[in-house]
């Protein structure tokens, strides 16, 4: 392993995101402007947007989702950045995390002092079947999608391989969904910010209001096994194992660490970065782990000079519940084949030893593909600064991590954050 170094320190001094959800009346640029305004307002000592030198924008597929290509200059123009360089980054669902990485490299190289990193996706305009096709195209369209594989199908195949090898059951996966919805219920930006018990109660009340017979679930497990309320998407993954289709945007302001105090007394430093690639599923030896994620995190830990044990909280890429289980093992928090037990035992809960996805994760907060990697960092920023409100983790958070995955793990990108002093 080559140990790589950043040319100089990089800090986050501002962060903002739009509400995540389904917004029929908003375009990508409306969402991006919403995120930009919140980012601007978040900078403790204020700043003049004129000093932004360049934009890196994560966006998977505005071409297919909105019939709008060339998204980066459009977003730059929407927030008044032209004629500065604006670059779109596409690595499927990791587009946002990779945009952040390029922003970090741009500052670390010494070329820029002040860089805007953004992510945006406007997905709900398309019918669900076309969204399924668009997301499926992140796989190999010569050999994977013609077989009838869907995006949930890929992760479902990982889940059955994992279940077969380690004895996990679909019930273990449900514990991930229950936890993430409990967290998302405390996040005002979340698309499905409601706990599963409250969701069930809402369904009962809605039925009663319409004069229909109310569902008679006796427990959360009862509800999650109900084929009508929680239909099978791709065995063993049901609707509540899948992240939703979402519109949303997110923004971060990166600056050279030596200038961070001009903007805030509470900057968050990025001290480790790792990214890796991998082949389609048919060229892999093992479907119970993502090699790209393991390579990316090893590079990031080496650069930061820390280990998994040092990480207090993490936002990981839970596009499906199984993805969170595998992620917590790939990040070396737990040994292979034990992540599902940790989820069930509450170790990854907000008050557990290793809180995972305190934001609600992609599962509950929503997954506007190109924005997700940037929004993960916003949760870390809030938690490390003690600004996460009702979902704030207790105690100090000196070190944290984000893990963002593209497709079925053909791309993985990891960042490690430190709050100094």
């Amino acid at each position: 392993m080559t140990q790589r170094k950043l040319g100089r320190g990089v800090a986050i001094v501002g962060a903002g995101m739009s509400k995540f959800g389904a917004f029929p009346d908003k375009t990508s640029r409306d969402l991006f402007v919403e995120a930009f305004k919140e980012m601007r307002a978040s900078i403790d000592k204020g700043f003049d947007p004129e000093i932004i030198e360049t934009l890196y924008l994560g966006n998977y597929s505005s071409d297919l989702f909105e019939k709008q290509g060339h998204t980066a200059p459009i977003m730059a123009d929407a927030v008044g950045l032209t004629p500065r360089p604006a670059t779109r980054v596409e690595d499927a669902c990791a587009s946002g995390g990779v945009a952040l990485r390029l922003g970090v490299l741009a500052v670390a190289s010494g070329m820029y002092d002040v860089v805007l990193v953004g992510g945006v996706e406007r997905m709900t305009k398309l019918p669900t079947a076309e969204v399924t096709d668009t997301l499926g195209s992140a796989g190999d369209t010569l050999y994977e999608t013609p077989a009838g594989f869907t995006f949930p199908g890929f992760y479902a195949a990982m889940a059955t391989a994992y279940m077969h090898r380690y004895g996990m059951t679909p019930e273990h996966l449900m514990s991930v969904a229950i936890k993430n919805h409990a967290n998302g219920a405390l996040n005002p930006k979340a698309q499905f910010g409601v706990s599963i018990p409250d969701w069930m109660e809402q369904r009962v009340q809605a039925a009663l209001k319409k004069g229909k017979p109310a569902p008679t679930w006796k427990s959360i497990s009862d509800f999650l096994h109900d084929d009508a309320a929680n239909p099978m998407i791709a065995y063993p993954l049901r609707l509540f194992d899948c992240s939703p289709i979402t519109d949303g945007a997110a923004c971060l302001l990166l600056v050279a660490a030596e200038r961070a105090r001009e903007f805030t007394d509470q900057p968050i430093h990025i001290i480790g970065v790792g990214q890796a690639s991998d082949a389609a599923l048919h060229y892999r030896a093992d479907l119970t782990t993502l090699r790209a994620a393991r390579v990316a995190v090893q590079d990031a830990y080496a650069m930061a000079g820390v280990t998994a044990r040092d990480i207090r909280i993490a936002e990981v890429h839970d596009c499906f519940t199984i993805a969170e289980v595998i992620a917590t093992e790939d990040m070396e928090f737990f040994a292979p084949g034990t992540g599902f037990k940790m989820a069930q035992e509450g170790v990854t809960a907000r008050d557990g030893a290793k809180p995972i996805n305190t934001s609600g994760g992609l599962k509950s907060k929503g997954h506007p593909v190109g924005a997700s990697g940037v929004a993960q960092t916003i949760e870390i920023w809030k938690q490390m600064r003690g600004e996460a409100g009702a979902r704030q983790v207790k105690g100090d958070i000196p070190l944290a991590l984000t893990h963002n995955v593209g497709g079925t793990g053909q791309t993985a990108v990891v960042h490690i954050y430190e709050r100094k002093g």
Partner: protein, 133 residues
């Protein structure tokens, strides 16, 4: 367009034709033009025998376009006896009877129909081998 692409891939879809590295012997399906084991670019066509065991699977209930008529269908990863994994539908079996590790063999079946003309595209699927082997 998709039909032209299918025609270009007919050797793969009908005969499971991949490649073998002339330098190190590594076998690939789908075919590769650069060997990922030794980086050689000297690869020759190689026809796989079409037998293996089921490595993993799922049952798709929410299909992509063009596959609606098969729902729910089983799609899996087959580990060929020669080594590579193939992504394919598993056919001629009840979803409840599918087991990871079971022996399977290639068959040629309808993959999907295209457009209003209903042009039918054929290709490989896999089915359980009944008498062991």
């Amino acid at each position: 367009m998709d039909l032209a692409r299918h025609w270009r891939l007919k050797d793969q879809r009908y005969r499971l034709e991949g490649t073998v590295c002339a330098e190190c012997g590594a076998k690939f399906f789908p075919p590769r033009q650069v060997c990922t084991e030794c980086k050689s670019t000297n690869l020759k066509p190689h026809e796989f025998a079409g037998r293996g065991e089921l490595y993993s699977f799922t049952t798709v209930s929410a299909p992509p376009s063009g596959h609606e008529e098969f729902v729910p269908y089983i799609v899996g990863m087959v580990k060929l006896d020669e080594g590579p994994l193939v992504e394919a539908q598993i056919t001629d079996v009840n979803p409840a009877d599918v087991k990871i590790g079971q022996r399977v063999e290639m068959v040629t079946r309808k993959l999907r129909a295209y457009g209003d003309d209903g042009v039918i595209v054929y290709g490989y699927k896999f089915r359980p081998i009944v008498n062991g082997s």
